[in-house]
């Protein structure tokens, strides 16, 4: 008897944990799904002047290739026409046409969600190449000078280059390098180009990227930095300290591969500004966005895919088993008395409409009135079903009175009772009466307080958004809950309340 229950419980818990682990490890789900996420609003404004018939403005945009998810975007182009094109990893907005005599106001706005690191699929590893404009003569000169390093492993090569770029300090045992010639050869390049040349010379893929610092505010222009291919993805080289930092968390990349983020032809741009603002994004929306774009089976079968108007119900439903587990624990471990299993859960659901204070007060008042009526009914000796129908009618009549009073005095909660609780109230009245008859008022009051306490705790649980979203993201946790419920069902030890009930045995007889 004991074994199958234990096996089933552990199996359910293991399955649930396995699916959760799969989602986290393989699909990149967050460990703490309830952590708030941010959405960035990127905005570009400018006024394009030009007399030519076909002025052009090209602006590099946020792109999924840069690990950015574009939730929505909009282009304003005035009298000019605009379209989008792709160029390698970059998305580019193109405004073309003749600007107005006062210049044409153009703008672009996008809501951007930064993909968590490690989740965006990498393309074919790029090949190392020299920046545009480096002659073959220069290449062979530099490669010749750096030849001793080319045989090192990847991270050693990278470290050498970073050290070189940092302080021209070549350090280490490589005595056969002609540093002075190398320094002369590199002198004519600017800092980013020098870094690119050095990296290419030791066969490490690298690129320049133009973009913005990921901080709130307005800036007039973009800046560029060098990114290096680390084997798993692109790493940002911090130009000050010559270290590789993750590029996604600190920077908004717009244009990769040496192209300027903003280019004009036959025109001139004034009042150029880039604006970044950060907004907290509803955790629900974050997940909706990520699953709606995924082709993975578990994402496609995610609860986030069901229409939003139905999702609300499932957020709550997913937590009801947790409430039931809690009731099982409080009853079988502690010895709480409650009116059945479901009454506290249903009461908790009803509190969602009315709030705790009004909910409890209304429940208490109606049960009291109902109990009085039930005593009266008892003298009439009605049959079960007609008796219950009288109570239902009474409860609904109480609701009507409350609604009218609430409307008159502006207490919205009095009107928010909803459909559900009339069943519970009717049954509670009946159960309360039976317990008073069979076990006395004291037990009945204890049971009522127990039920109220359990429903308040259940209410707090189902209203806790952190739990809601965790179960919504990982609905397989229900199996975990079921496992715990089975384990609770096999708890055959004493209840806490039995310490009091059998206290005469404890003092050692």
């Amino acid at each position: 008897m004991k074994r199958p229950a234990l096996t089933a419980a552990l199996a359910l818990i293991a399955i649930s944990l396995f699916i959760v682990a799969y989602r986290i490890v393989s699909l990149g789900y967050p460990l703490t799904p309830a952590k708030p996420d941010y959405v960035w609003t990127f905005r570009f404004d400018g006024v394009l002047h030009g007399t030519a018939k076909d002025s052009l403005l090209l602006l590099s945009l946020p792109s999924e290739q840069h690990g950015q998810i574009i939730l929505e975007e909009g282009i304003e182009s005035g009298s000019m026409s605009s379209n989008l094109l792709k160029e390698y990893d970059n998305r580019i907005a193109v405004w073309s046409g003749r600007p107005g005599p006062e210049g044409e106001y153009i703008s672009y706005k996008a809501s951007v969600l930064l993909q968590p690191t490690g989740t965006h699929t990498t393309v074919v590893p790029p090949r190392a190449s020299y920046p545009y404009g480096i002659t073959n003569g220069e290449i062979s000169l530099i490669e010749g000078l750096m030849a001793p390093w080319r045989a090192l492993n990847f991270s050693a090569r990278l470290q050498v280059v970073l050290n070189l770029a940092k302080k021209y300090d070549f350090g280490g045992p490589q005595g056969n390098v002609d540093f002075l010639s190398l320094r002369d050869a590199l002198r004519k390049y600017d800092d980013p180009t020098r870094l690119l040349v050095l990296l290419a010379a030791v066969n490490i893929p690298a690129r320049t990227v133009e973009g913005l610092d990921l901080v709130e505010g307005v800036v007039g222009k973009t800046f560029s930095w060098v990114e290096v291919w680390t084997g798993q993805g692109w790493g940002h080289i911090d130009p000050e300290r010559m270290e590789i930092v993750s590029s996604k968390t600190g920077f908004l990349a717009l244009s990769a591969g040496g192209m300027s983020a903003v280019r004009t032809s036959a025109g001139e741009l004034s009042a150029k500004r880039f604006e970044l603002t950060r907004n907290v994004m509803s955790r629900w929306r974050v997940f909706f966005e990520r699953t709606s774009r995924s082709a993975r089976i578990l994402d496609q079968w995610s609860l986030f895919r069901i229409p939003p108007e139905f999702q609300q119900t499932f957020r709550i439903l997913l937590l009801v088993p947790l409430g039931a587990l809690l009731i099982a624990l409080l009853r079988n471990f502690v010895g709480f008395q409650t009116f059945g299993v479901f009454m506290p859960v249903l009461m908790a659901l009803a509190f969602r409409n009315t709030g705790l204070f009004y909910g409890l007060a209304m429940f208490a008042a109606i049960v009291l009135i109902g109990y009085g009526a039930r005593r009266g009914l008892n003298r009439m000796r009605l049959l079960l079903i007609p008796r219950m129908s009288v109570l239902v009618t009474l409860v609904i009549f109480c609701f009507i009175i409350l609604a009218l009073v609430g409307n008159r005095f502006g207490v919205r909660q009095f009107m928010a009772v909803g459909l559900l609780p009339f069943v519970i109230l009717t049954m509670t009245i009946e159960r309360f009466f039976v317990i008073v008859e069979e076990h006395g008022m004291r037990t009945a009051m204890e049971t009522t307080l127990g039920s109220a306490a359990v429903s308040v705790i259940t209410y707090l649980i189902i209203q806790w958004e952190v739990l809601q979203i965790t179960f919504f993201v990982y609905p397989e946790l229900l199996l975990f809950v079921m496992g715990l419920q089975i384990l609770a069902g096999r708890y055959t030890g004493y209840r806490l309340s039995e310490l009091i009930r059998f206290r005469s045995f404890r003092d050692g007889t």
Partner: protein, 315 residues
């Protein structure tokens, strides 16, 4: 480990807790299919008759509204009788008639009701008023019990009853429930009756529990509750032990009364006997259950062998 300390006292005393009773004993030994045998007192009475276990004499059963006309023929020749619902619980719906004055009936409590009122009450029972689940019920009309004098000094009105807990056919613990003024003459521990433990070997009453406190004297009569020798003790234990053969239930509470003329009579069987009997006996049921489980197989052969073993072994 320190957290579990308070529980250790209970487990060393062999106290049976609610969770263990439900999961390990009732669910393991009492098949659901056998519950109707004890839930319906008519079925219990018929079974008892098959096994030669005496019950209060059955005058008649009214199964449906159409049978109500039989009420007169059933009660015509009786001066006293009891009307009770077959599925009632907690003593609700029971009317004790002790004498008849023409068309008026005098109840045990001294109230008088007309026959017409009693018939109306019978239709209520048939409609299921006293059955909490609202099922249709039947009405039992049986002999009024005249309680044995042995408990007169410690019973306030009402009829004391004897509860024997039977595990796998072995009587393992017993108590007598004595009505008090607070319990309104009912032998119901929830209602305030006293429960006095009975020593299995000697049949002598010992400790008593009243509302979870240990008492030595009856609160109304002031007489000591301990040291009373229960008559027919061997027979009472045998009747309880036979409940296994009778119902096939492995864990039963057998409720019996002592009739002045007929001796012990089986009132009803309970498939979920309560745990309060442990406090009345200052002994744990679980310890005794384990004793039974370790007994050799041959003690289970007959009710007699089980009773003998229990009286000699269980402490």
């Amino acid at each position: 480990m320190g957290m579990l300390r308070p529980f250790k006292g209970l487990s060393e005393a062999g106290v049976l807790g609610m969770n263990t009773r439900n999961a390990d004993i009732i669910m393991a030994l009492n098949p659901r299919s056998k519950f109707p045998l004890v839930d319906n007192k008519v079925a219990t009475k018929e079974l008892a008759a098959l096994h030669n276990i005496p019950t209060p004499a059955l005058y008649g059963v009214i199964m449906k509204h159409g049978d109500i006309k039989n009420f007169h023929s059933i009660t015509e020749s009786r001066d006293s009788f009891v009307v009770k619902p077959a599925r009632g619980s907690g003593g609700s719906g029971i009317v004790l008639v002790k004498e008849r004055q023409g068309d008026t009936l005098i109840t045990q409590a001294g109230k008088s009701i007309s026959t017409a009122d009693l018939i109306y009450h019978i239709t209520d029972i048939l409609s299921g008023i006293f059955s909490l689940e609202g099922h249709d019920d039947s009405v039992i009309i049986e002999a009024l019990i005249h309680p044995d004098d042995v408990f007169n000094s410690v019973a306030y009105r009402g009829v004391p009853d004897i509860r024997v807990v039977v595990y796998r056919g072995v009587p393992i613990m017993a108590m007598v429930r004595l009505p008090t003024a607070a319990s309104d003459g009912k032998a119901n521990l929830h209602g305030g009756a006293i429960g006095a433990g009975i020593d299995l070997k000697t049949g002598l009453t010992a400790n008593a529990v009243h509302r979870s406190a240990i008492v030595s004297h009856h609160p109304d009569t002031g007489n000591p509750v301990s040291g009373i020798e229960v008559p027919y003790w061997e027979k009472i234990l045998l009747m309880a032990a036979r409940s296994l053969e009778m119902t096939g239930l492995g864990y039963v509470g057998a409720d019996m009364v002592l009739d002045r003329d007929r001796g012990p009579l089986l009132l009803e069987l309970n498939a979920r006997p309560g745990l309060a009997i442990q406090v009345a006996n200052r002994a744990g049921l679980l310890g005794r259950i384990r004793q039974v489980d370790t007994a050799s197989g041959d003690i289970f052969a007959t009710p007699e062998s089980r009773v003998d073993w229990a009286r000699q072994t269980i402490r």
